[in-house]
Every structure is written in structure tokens, then in C-alpha cells.
């Protein structure tokens, strides 16, 4: 990766916006914050590819919906995203935590008590904030796997301003990372992975979401099978200003049989059911800015 041209820092994934957000968190009075959020959420509607990506996905999630309605829904997605990333930075910089509600507490506690588990989640609510909360409150070690920032400066910025006590692995060095994670899970740690969309050249499994063909990362399922640990679908859903609900669903057990593809297909189907349910109810915080389905892209 080479250092990018100076103007790239102002591109939508550039480091400028991360710096601006951090500056805002440290300077914006909370009683002006809603106005600032509303303004910047509207400003980012100018980001054409992101706006179109969200609107195309909404078209599939809400069949028969009108473009104009999806435009306003798109604003709601951006608004929720703005609050979510702001809450995340606020936690990192000021250690301010939001209100937390738990749903599926039994499953959550079982995950905490298990001897190694995969925490499978989606690009919604605050994945980062949830992981940070785990790292602070859980006795289990948590390792977070995520796609690296595309922009080098942004990546450096994020690494510099990361929360303490949380190990983050980037899914770029596939084989090496798989072995690393396998060992980590076997040692009893929880590995948190976003399993709703495929980024970069990683191995995938076929899936169906909202009745349309899609793909999901194969990594979490392969890891669960190899380590013989359950997968816990966990969603961090924003339910209001500085309020989140942590929803833990029943675990996905991958049983080994002679037909590996069938084993994976069963697990993926269960995951997609959970994901579809959450996305249907909380479409306004599914932060997928690229067209998710190939047909939506076209």
C-alpha cells in the first residue's frame, strides 16, 4: 500500500472525516449535537455511491417501495450511522458509555461461560462499541476480526486511536489469521466477526437473504467447525440517543457429518434467518453502503 495523494484524505473514506469526528466529539456541546448530526447526515447524502447503495438495498428489503421514500429512509440510515460512529468515538476518547439493554441474556451468559465461541454479527448498530463493552466487562478475551480501512492514513489513525484491551485482527492475511484464530478460540477466547457481507477476496458460502442469492464469509463457519465451538449471533442495535440493545440469539451449532457442504448450508441458513429478522426490523441501521445483492448492483 502506498501513501495516498493529499486530496484523498478528503474522500469519503479519507482520514479527514475521522479527524473531524474526533474533533467534534471533543468540542460539540451535547445540547447542539442533534443539530450537528442532522446537518452532517444531510451533507453525506451528497455521497452518491453510498446513497445509491443504501437505496438499492432498501428496495430489496422493502419490496415495492418508492424511490422517494427510500431517499428519506436513506437519510435515516445515515443519521443512525452518524450517531453510532459518534458514540463509538465518544467511548474511545471520553469513556462515555451508553445505556445498555440486553435481550437473549441466557444466550449471552452461555457465550461468556463457554470455553471459546464465535460471536457473529452484522454491520449494524455499533459493532465496535459492543466489542469494546465486551472487552471491558467480560472475563473472556475477545478478538475482533474486521476488514482493514482502505485508506492507509485512516487505518493508521484508527490504530492510533483504538481502545485499550481489545485485540483487532484484520482479515487480509487469510491463512495465517485462520490458524491464529483457531488457536485463540481453542484457548477459550471469543472471536467477533462480521458475517453479513463479503469484503475483499475472502472465501465465501452461498446464502439467501430476503429471497435473493447472496454470499457470506466462510471464515466464521469454518472456524466454528474446526474449533468445535458454537456461533452466537449477536446484534448491537441502537434504540435511541446513547441507548443500545444487545440482542443475542440462540447459538448455531455446526455438527459435522459426511457432507461438509450440508453442514455449512444448515448453519448459514440459520444465520441468514437471524440476520433477515434483524435487518427487516432495523433496516435503518444496516450500514451496508454498497449494493448487497448482485442484482441490486446492476
Amino acid at each position: 500500500m502506498t501513501r495516498s495523494a493529499w486530496w484523498r484524505r478528503f474522500s469519503v473514506r479519507g482520514v479527514f472525516w475521522r479527524q473531524l469526528l474526533r474533533f467534534a466529539i471533543l468540542h460539540v456541546p451535547p445540547w447542539i449535537e442533534p443539530i450537528v448530526m442532522a446537518f452532517w447526515s444531510a451533507f453525506f447524502l451528497l455521497w452518491g455511491p453510498g446513497r445509491r447503495g443504501v437505496m438499492r438495498n432498501l428496495k430489496v428489503i422493502k419490496p415495492g417501495s418508492f424511490g422517494i421514500a427510500n431517499f428519506f429512509r436513506c437519510y435515516r440510515v445515515f443519521w443512525n450511522y452518524a450517531w453510532t460512529i459518534a458514540d463509538n468515538v465518544r467511548f474511545k476518547e471520553l469513556r462515555t458509555i451508553p445505556d445498555w439493554e440486553f435481550a437473549g441474556l441466557d444466550h449471552f451468559q452461555a457465550m461468556q461461560a463457554s470455553n471459546g465461541a464465535i460471536l457473529l454479527t452484522a454491520h449494524m448498530g455499533s459493532y465496535d462499541l459492543g466489542a469494546h463493552l465486551f472487552s471491558e466487562t467480560s472475563t473472556r478475551r475477545i478478538v475482533m476480526v474486521r476488514a482493514p480501512e482502505e485508506d492507509l492514513e485512516t487505518r493508521e489513525f484508527e490504530e492510533h486511536h483504538g481502545a485499550e484491551g481489545l485485540r483487532i485482527e484484520f482479515n487480509t492475511r487469510a491463512t495465517e489469521l485462520a490458524l491464529d484464530l483457531l488457536e485463540t478460540v481453542r484457548e477459550g477466547a471469543i472471536v467477533a466477526i462480521q458475517g453479513d457481507r463479503v469484503m475483499g477476496s475472502i472465501s465465501t458460502l452461498p446464502a439467501t437473504l430476503f429471497g435473493k442469492a447472496a454470499t457470506v464469509p466462510a471464515g466464521p463457519f469454518a472456524l466454528a467447525m474446526a474449533a468445535r465451538v458454537p456461533i452466537y449471533p449477536v446484534f448491537v442495535v441502537r434504540i435511541g440517543r446513547r441507548r443500545y440493545r444487545l440482542v443475542t440469539s440462540r447459538p448455531i451449532e455446526i455438527t459435522r457429518s459426511r457432507n461438509r457442504d450440508d453442514d455449512f448450508a444448515r448453519a448459514v441458513a440459520q444465520w441468514m434467518t437471524e440476520l433477515e429478522d434483524v435487518v427487516r426490523n432495523c433496516w435503518f441501521q444496516w450500514f451496508t453502503f454498497e449494493p448487497y445483492w448482485p442484482e441490486a448492483a446492476s
Binding site: 468540542h27 443539530i35 435481550a103
Partner: protein
Amino acid sequence: MNVIADKPEAHWLPSRHRFALSRLIAYAKLRRARAIANNAEHLILPIDRDQTAAEMNGVALWVFFTTVCYIAAVLPLILPAAIVAAIPLAAIALQFPIVGIGPIVRMLLGDGDHIKIISVITMALLVIASSYFAVSSSWPRYVAWFFFAVLVVNGAAALVVWLLRNGIREAEDRCAR
């Protein structure tokens, strides 16, 4: 940061509110609150002064509405057009103290949390603008009077909160127990 677990009535802790009027209302609610049914299986409520959505959104709307009126009054347009134009301008104007003064404060005091300073400066600018409009004969004087009325009521609430400080502390301790 302190947190309270599995006590929904802790939503009404005065310590979770910023402004005196809001703290007073919260105290009244907390006194009346008996064991509220906990809908969540597990609840974690941090004690942070800026945690309450209704309070912060309410103040944000009030400040925004006030700024829209002041800007609309100085725009050389007919009133409906001026109000429409003033909406985005007010959203931008409210960020001037942050982007204009924020970097200076940062330069002088170093990197860190400067929310309190920016808060005071922004409120001071609103008070100056309101003073200007309050003594004018144009229609925003009513908005300015309302602005000062809210400040006076909040000031009075601050006095009451101070007088009730022991009772508030006891009610909070009871809730946290």
C-alpha cells in the same frame, strides 16, 4: 464512570440530567417512581449528565428554533422565504463557535475535551444575540423574551435544586442501593 444495573427508575436520577430544570423534573419523577417493570432482561444505566435524550433534544430544538428566528429576522426576504432559508443557515451558524473557536482553544490548551468551554461560549453568543433582539421592536423580540424566560426559570430551578440537594442525594442513594 458509575453505572446502575437493573433499576429502570434510575432513568430519572437527577445526576443523569444536565440542566437544573431538567434535574428538578427528574427528581420529582424519581420520588414518584416505585419499582418500574424492567422490560429488558438486563439493564445498564451509566450516570452521566448528558445521558437523557428528551432533555438534550429539547434544548437542541429550542436553541435551533431561536437561531432560525434571529437569522430569518435579518434576511432581506419575505418572512416565509426567510424562515425556509434560515433553517440550513441556522444549522451552519450554530457550528461556527465549534469550528471557529474550537481550534483556538485547542491550540491554547492542547488536545482534549473542550466541550465545557465551547458550551459557555456558544451560550454566551446566544445571550448576546437574544439581548440584541429583546430590545428591538421586530417580531423576534418575543423569541428573545422566551429565551430569557427559559434562562430565568432554569436559574430558579437551580436555586431549588441547591436547596433540595440533601433530599436529592438521599433519593439517588436509595435508587442506587
